[in-house]
Amino acid sequence: MYTLTNVKAYYDSPRGPIKAVDDVSLEIRPNEILGIAGESGCGKSTLIKVIYGHINPPLRLVSGEIRAEMKDNGQVSVLSAKDLPKVWWEFISYVPQASMSVLNPVMRIENQFFDAVSRFHRAGNREQIRQQVADYLQELDLPVEVLKAYPHQLSGGMRQRVLVALATFLHPQIILADEPTTALDVVVQRGILRMLTRVQQTMGNTLIIVSHDMGVHYQITHRMAIMYAGQLVEVGPTERIFSAAQHPYTEMLIKSLPRIGDHSAREGISGRPPSLLDPPPGCPFAPRCPHAMDICTQARPPLVQIEDDHLSACFLHEEAMAAAHAQKVGAQS
């Protein structure tokens, strides 16, 4: 179990703080695939950084709490954001964007592999690790020869598979995948996604997948969090998000997806997302929202439960209105 409570993480810039993660609360559960969706620049990658515990200047954790429960030999230890770098790869691991050149061009794959995993005692000495890594690659149907190869000798898909293998080798409880299939062709994409889901099923751990591709989310995730302008606007079971989206932004996002057999032109969402440097005071989606009311530009709608395990942040929901009202009354008295 991993929880984020009212987390605010800003980038310091000369023009003021960039509010990339602005008051996000999220519960990450064991044995699930959680999707984080949203358009470019909405703060998805920053949220992943925060969850990973990679908070370095200019990124700063302004407020909020991060609480991770790590199970180790039956014992549970509670970790905060600061402790996470010590347990990278062992407790929480990271699969980078496929489009990035994250492998050192002048080092053999095996050495880059060892760099990440040899810090841990259970991995044993070098020869033992080599054998374990080779066994693990075989388990994942990857050729063992890739270990001796240099990055340029592997295809983009193979490089990404190696990175997935690296991220899952130590059986971490949480695997973060940031756009793991972007820039790969659809056949390779499918292979990578299947590999990720297969690993998740065997290990029974948590996979958090960030993507702007709604198709990816539909295919593999169990639960989804929709992010807009640094905030979560809707969190719920994937199936419900696609069949009964609650937030206007999610609704429009789903509507814009093409469907087989439907030849009518797709509608986009007009306007642009707000600047994270100076977001509007109320609901960040209000300027583009067809249902915007007066209150939307004044107060921020809280994330409230609409149905079982399905939360949304919009004043169209009576629950949100009531919660905002209660808050206002509370503040006045």
């Binding site: 990679h54 994250v102 492998l103 990440a116």
Partner: protein, 334 residues
């Protein structure tokens, strides 16, 4: 097999380059309007010696023979090539007649090699190490200070810097000799001899180190500060790799590649001597030799030193080609 093909093709290129270079060395002096034999004779005559026409003809013939100017151009060319590639014999020096050119070069070369190899390598190691640190920590104060210093020192013309050093070390503080002067009484390779050689070389070596350091530092800093922002460096941090290892294996190993190429080329140039350094510090190296050869129109000596330089630079390039696949896995023998 692949390696053999690669080696042969590179070797062929190497031989062709050297051959073209040597042909140019052979042809260019022959395009000059002055005839070296007449020039030499004129010089001898102008010193006031009276000679019979027959004597003059005899001297002309012997000079023509020793300059390798007998026969047709083709015969001269073949003779020249044989001498260059087989015996490395460029005939006698004209200015220091009849000392052979090869002997003059042989005497000057060790001095140039000692001075330049040592100072080049010291500057390379220092510049790259400090440049790597400063590039990796590009946002820290010491990095900015060092860069400011290097940018300030590097553009100073070498001869000005050297003169300033001579004034400071030789006259103001008076701690180092400004002119190369070793007692002829010293026997080679005794402790005193080696010490005197080093002592006399400190100032010229230091001046070369300072100037070269600036270049290596600035280029390495630029390279490593770019590489420090590469995605694989960020990912290495996410892997939890220590800073020392990130610097050595992820940044330095990539940044050093062009630096090795440059070093090899510079080392090839070591055989040219260091013209200005050697003149300023009266250093008995190849640079001084070239200088005097030019001043005294010593064709043979000039051709000898230039041939040596062509050979050295092309050999260095050839060696770089050979070692590159070992240091950069992306380059294969093809």
């Amino acid at each position: 097999m692949r390696f053999a093909v690669f080696l042969l093709s590179r070797l062929l290129t190497y031989v062709i380059v050297v051959w073209i270079g040597m042909t140019a060395v052979f042809l260019v002096p022959r395009l000059m309007p002055t005839d070296p034999v007449s020039a030499m004779l004129g010089r001898v005559m102008s010193q006031g010696a009276f000679m019979e026409p027959a004597q003059v003809e005899a001297i002309r013939a012997s000079l023509t023979a020793s300059f390798g100017l007998e026969g047709t151009l083709w015969e001269q060319y073949l003779g020249f090539m044989r001498r260059v590639f087989i015996t490395f014999d460029f005939g006698p020096s004209l200015a220091m007649f009849p000392t052979p050119v090869s002997q003059l070069i042989g005497r000057a070369l060790p001095w140039s090699l000692g001075l330049l190899l040592a100072s080049t390598l010291i500057a390379w190691v220092l510049g790259n190490t400090i440049g790597l640190l400063a590039g990796y920590h590009r946002l820290r104060a010491y990095s900015k200070f060092l860069e400011g210093f290097a940018v300030l020192v590097y553009p100073i013309p070498y001869y000005i810097l050297a003169l300033i050093m001579i004034i400071l070390f030789g006259y103001v503080w008076g701690i180092l000799p400004t002119n190369f002067s070793m007692s002829p009484m010293l026997k080679p390779w005794t402790l005193d001899y080696v010490w005197a050689a080093i002592y006399n070389s400190i100032l010229p070596a230091l001046s070369i180190v300072i100037v070269n350091f600036g270049w290596w530092f600035l280029s390495m800093k630029a390279l490593s500060s770019t590489l420090a922002e590469e995605e694989y460096v960020d990912f290495a941090k996410l892997k939890g790799v220590g800073e020392g290892r990130i610097m050595s294996r992820y940044v330095a190993q990539n940044a050093i590649l062009p630096q090795i190429t440059m070093l090899a080329l510079v080392l090839g140039g070591v055989f040219n001597g260091a013209l200005i350094t050697e003149i300023l510090f009266s250093y008995p190296g190849v640079g001084s030799l070239i200088y005097s050869a030019v001043l005294q129109a010593d064709y043979n000596l000039l051709m000898g030193t230039i041939s040596l330089s062509i050979l050295a630079v092309s050999t260095a390039t050839f060696v770089v080609d050979l070692i590159y696949p070992f240091i950069d896995p992306r380059i294969r023998y093809r």
